[in-house]
Amino acid sequence: MAEIVLKAIDVVKEYPSPHGPAVLAVRGGTIELAAASTLGIVGESGCGKSTLARLLVGLEQPTSGRVELMGEVAAGKVQLVFQDPFSSLNPRLTVLAALNEVLSVHKVAPNRGKRRARAEELLAMVALAPRFGERYPHELSGGQAQRVAIARALAVGPEVLVLDEPTSALDVSVRAEVMNLLTRLQDELALSYVFISHDLAMVRHISDVIAVMYLGKVVESGPYEAVLGSPFHPYTRALAEAVPVPDPELEASRRRGAVGEAISLSAEPASGCPYHPRCPLAEDLCRAQAPALLELRPGHAAACHVAARAEARLVSDPCL
């Protein structure tokens, strides 16, 4: 069993709402991240995946539950990379100045000369030539700007990167470049990633373990092949089916219509499984009682009454 570097235990994040009850963005998620591996988190807008990202890096404090850094991992060793590199970079700082700022704030390098050397090293790590150091964000392409954002996250020598939709704002032709950079850096620096995206193809490509979130809860988790290849949860299945694949032959042969109606957070049903109003398999039990996340096969867990019964080998110990 690989060493665990980051653990979120029963984290709940509640936002007060001016009208009506508080919004529960994350409701009782438990997540483990193994060293030098990638945990992919997928789900649709409003499922709480970005809130979870902010909880993991400490940008938000959970309402209840806790986030634990394990072993050698110290605070500040978890860094976040955002979706839009241009809005996360200061437009008035050159690339070098931006890196310098992080290096001096975190006291990574003692003097100017050392900081400069380290900044150039960081640029080299993300495969940007030294001349990019003199550029301002508006002089960079989307792919280059995202590299700078990654270099800045690497400046403090992190153990964990939380990547929140790191390729979604990029042009199709530069996404591959950023993905290749991320896998290379992970191998070289033994980084652990939390890779959050709605792009299932990218998540499948990079993740070792995938967690599927729905209305603030993890509804399925496990090794990537198991979760996307033979999903337990009807929501995971609907999600995988709804993603159009770049293959017209395959598209023509796919069966559609299992998607069901999307509902907003506030429309969560009063009782039972949060997915039951959309679920084609819903039965009385689903309307009455919320299913727990159960490990149905080794390492592969789902929160679904129907799947649990079908699997019939109930292990009451919730994993992940």
């Binding site: 649709e44 807008s45 409003g46 392409s141 792919g143 280059q144 042009d171 199709v172 032709s173 530069v174 996404r175 591959a176 470049e177 993905m179 290749n180 896998t183 709605h198 299932l200 193809a201 990218m202 499948r204 490509h205 990079i206 990537y224 609907a238 999600l239 089916e241 709804a242 993603v243 159009p244 694949v245 770049p246 293959d247 017209p248 032959e249 395959l250 598209e251 559609r256 219509g257 998607v259 069901g260 109606e261 999307a262 509902i263 907003s264």
Partner: protein
């Protein structure tokens, strides 16, 4: 004008369309030499990255370019036998809606924030000569048709009260309310969740099957292209670099850019965590192109001629054309 001819008369045709900014004697062309045809009940996909000119191309059809500074510099645009490029504003009013309806990527900016959804739909219908009673009934009908869960609540809502996905469905409801002959959709599902996207794709297909509406779908998502359209044009740096029937495009791309785009996507066949095929460099600024092929700096198959002369669209088989000097058979393996 030719006589209303056989069935193979295109519903929409663009000929030699160039779009750009003209300042005194200088003109910067952002879109050049675009020819395309859409027939009744056909679904055409326009694929390209940001800045490729795909949005400007479709905006030019209904003269919706941000003029000034950007305007149609040259070319002819014909819809159902009518030359749109010389039509006055009044004439265009007659085409917009029942002739050609448009749906944009961002629904927030296309709806009036001060009016209830119902008012906006009914207004559109009334502008197309539908009487008041019928318009109200039809309003609820189209809202239900686009899969909005509670049409009675939605029609009374103001735009800010609805989510992005719901608003986009309202926009599509407005577009479809007047049964257009052609729907132009500019990245209408890009901001939406995949399950909502799937519902909208199904809806458009269903309506298309019922009414024979033609569709132009602008997107950067090759999955959506594979899912919904019959034929594709690929745009790069302001011009069409490949046109082909959808299956052909995916099975045997004829332009190196198309090949590279397809290769850069992770699929189930791509090895887990294995390097994806990168396209080095970035697209050139279409307003400042150098001599030769605009893709040559990123192209793995470049030859001497590519830096001297820009290739025109060359025939590469039935209904297939690509702006590349080399046929796919000549590409090094």
């Amino acid at each position: 004008m030719s006589a209303p001819g056989p069935a193979r008369e295109p519903l929409l045709s663009l000929r030699g369309v160039a779009i750009g900014a003209r300042h005194r004697r200088h003109s910067a062309e952002i879109v050049r030499g675009v020819d395309l045809e859409v027939f009744a009940s056909e679904k055409l996909g326009i694929v390209g990255e940001s800045g490729s000119g795909k949005t400007l191309t479709v905006l030019s059809v209904l003269r919706l370019l941000p003029d000034p500074p950007i305007k149609l510099l040259r070319g002819n645009i014909t819809f159902a036998g009518t030359d749109l490029s010389h039509l006055d504003e009044k004439g265009l009013e007659g085409i917009r809606g029942a002739g050609i309806a448009m749906v944009y990527q961002d629904p927030m900016t296309s709806l009036n924030p001060l009016l209830r959804v119902r008012t906006q739909i009914v207004e559109t219908l009334r502008a197309h000569g539908v009487d008041k009673g019928t318009a109200h009934a039809r309003c609820r009908e189209v809202l239900a048709q686009v899969g909005l869960p509670d049409p009675r609540r939605v029609e009374r809502a103001y735009p800010y009260e609805l989510s992005g996905g719901m608003l986009q469905r309202v926009m599509i409801a407005i577009a479809l309310a007047v049964s257009p002959r052609l729907l132009i959709a500019d990245e209408p599902t890009t901001a939406l969740d995949v399950t909502i996207q799937e519902q909208i794709l199904e809806l458009v297909e269903e309506i298309q099957a019922q009414t024979g509406m033609a569709v132009v779908w602008v997107t950067h998502d090759l999955g959506v292209v594979a899912r919904i359209v019959d034929k594709v044009v690929v745009m790069y740096a302001g011009r069409i670099v490949e046109r082909a029937p959808t299956r052909q495009l995916f099975a045997r791309p004829s332009h190196p850019y198309t090949l590279a785009l397809l290769g850069s996507l992770p699929t189930t066949a791509t090895g887990h965590r294995q390097p994806l095929t990168q396209i080095g460099g970035t697209p050139p600024d279409p307003a400042h192109l150098e001599r030769g092929c605009p893709f040559r700096a990123r192209c793995p198959f470049v030859i001497g001629r590519c830096s001297e002369e820009e290739p025109p669209l060359l025939d590469r088989g039935p209904d297939v054309a690509a702006a590349c000097w080399r046929s796919p058979d000549e590409w090094p393996r």
